[in-house]
Subunit: 369 residues, 2 copies
Amino acid sequence: MRVGVIGGGQLARMMVPPAVELGVDIAVLGESEDAAARIAVTTVGDYTDLDTVLAFARDVDVVTFDHEHVPQPVLRALVDAGVAVRPGPDALQHAQDKLVLRRRLQQLGVPQPEWAEVEDAAALADFLERVGGRAIVKTPRGGYDGHGVRVVSAPHEADDWLAEGPLLAEEVVDFQRELAQLVARRPSGDVALWPLVETVQGDGVCREVFAPAPRTTAVTERVSREIAHTVATSLGVTGVLAVELFETTDERVLVNELAMRPHNSGHWTIDGAVTSQFEQHLRAVLDLPLGSPEARAPWSAMVNVLGGPADGDLDSRVPRLMADQPTAKLHLYGKATRPGRKIGHVTASGEDLDDAVFIARAAAAFFED
Amino acid sequence: MRVGVIGGGQLARMMVPPAVELGVDIAVLGESEDAAARIAVTTVGDYTDLDTVLAFARDVDVVTFDHEHVPQPVLRALVDAGVAVRPGPDALQHAQDKLVLRRRLQQLGVPQPEWAEVEDAAALADFLERVGGRAIVKTPRGGYDGHGVRVVSAPHEADDWLAEGPLLAEEVVDFQRELAQLVARRPSGDVALWPLVETVQGDGVCREVFAPAPRTTAVTERVSREIAHTVATSLGVTGVLAVELFETTDERVLVNELAMRPHNSGHWTIDGAVTSQFEQHLRAVLDLPLGSPEARAPWSAMVNVLGGPADGDLDSRVPRLMADQPTAKLHLYGKATRPGRKIGHVTASGEDLDDAVFIARAAAAFFED
């Protein structure tokens, strides 16, 4: 069994350990020799170039992804060439285009924020009036980690983006917190859902995850699972799907965004679940039976390492972290430090959530200045 | 940080996942391109050839091992060239030569079976008389997994081996079970001990491990830990040390053998302990603070996959195993099937030992014919 991963970032990197354990060979099409997933990079090349991608795909049993940026024409040419592409282009377009996603979720009756496709300032003005004078506008494509997202309160504040094409406008949701429901689905249709988690964002980037989501009602849990199950099944997702959710102040659950790949909100599963999202993704895209998604411990807390020390010297921080927090699980992505960049994460698990959070935060803090 | 591992077997392979997670680069000097640790093989060559090993060592911060077969002259030349070699040659000789080990344990007052160095049939006759007519003879070097070990009851039954040099003769210990105490030690002297485990052997090969060792007295536990601590410290071991023990019918604990590397008796730690033996080995040889060796679950059971199906087709067995045992953790070593060969293992963990044993055995059974 041989899996090919397009993209050499930390998600591809974190697929390597379970591939090694399962006896699955893994090959990565990376952007450069020193990609985060460099240990598995077999081809360095451009994922938008069909010949490069086709040549890479020839030697593997299934192609999957570190990111959602492979163009639809390339994906469809792979399928036409007989390559197993998981998730496939029909599913992936919902993760590639936020307008396609909103339309589809509306058809499916899945709860989501008020939204509109706006083509000009007049349409944005209408939408602003409808949602109380403030809205979030998003470029339909290419945004991630807060890029391509802007809060506006006047119609002309998005003129620069509107010049490029239609935008997605969304109401500013009055949420009490953000949640994420991860699910894996294999081509045969089986799905496995991990416990619902709480995510804490800052500047559009995931900072912390608490698993399971503390103080959660049975209704919120059930609705979140139903939403993820519906989306995974209706969109024909294969592999891991992350459904990012708002829990509103009036306790509704609304779909914020989707990711069709392992996701930051699931990094805790490496240490905290019987089957990690990375192992499950491999199983799912290989159409193998899914592993148990249950938690190994009552509570896990994951804290991202963002940016890293200004001097770039991670190696001097690692021993201090390890000496201070011998139960913390450290994950570094083999990336150079840079302000705001995700360069690693720390997970702690145990009987008590506060303890786990304390340990994970204390460990991650060794990488701050 | 960059670790170089000499030898490309499953132990090197299983160092790859924690290296990837910790952000440590790992390079392997393997016997062939398709070694079990092939994903990390950077040099294919002969580990007995000094030039090959020196060239390999030049690009890494520390050299460690998948096996104990690197000749002493090569090890000492590495040290002379300024390479950090962990464990070092002084420690490793005790794992390379069973006579050297027996002498040293005797000096240290560590409990072990009755033994003698025998140079000829007359000496073996004397020893046989002393221990009741039956003894185990072992070639001091090169034995593993039951190779180089023979039970004799007459002096001339070892003549073929005696022609090659002196042998180690040992009493046949009347043991009720076998135990193993794993410990890791870093150059600074810190040690961390995992829970004592029970190992079940067959034909000289490890079959099953139960962690922690069930029905164990506090004395046995304490003595086992003291022995491992003494041996690791006195011999100056760096990295993981496995001390294989006999628990006698009169409840003494005697040292059977040592391994100075991650060991089959510690495979359960990948899934069952906060810090696996492979992560801990990397930390120890890099002189990083050691992680917590505590168990993640009350019980873990590890069952080896030996030989594999006669048709060599592992891929068809994997889905059946996964469908049947979704909580079992499967580890395959990327090796071809061959009677008696260790090609993988399965671990199960939980609140109940019998359940864990059942799951691990049921899973491993999918690879039998």
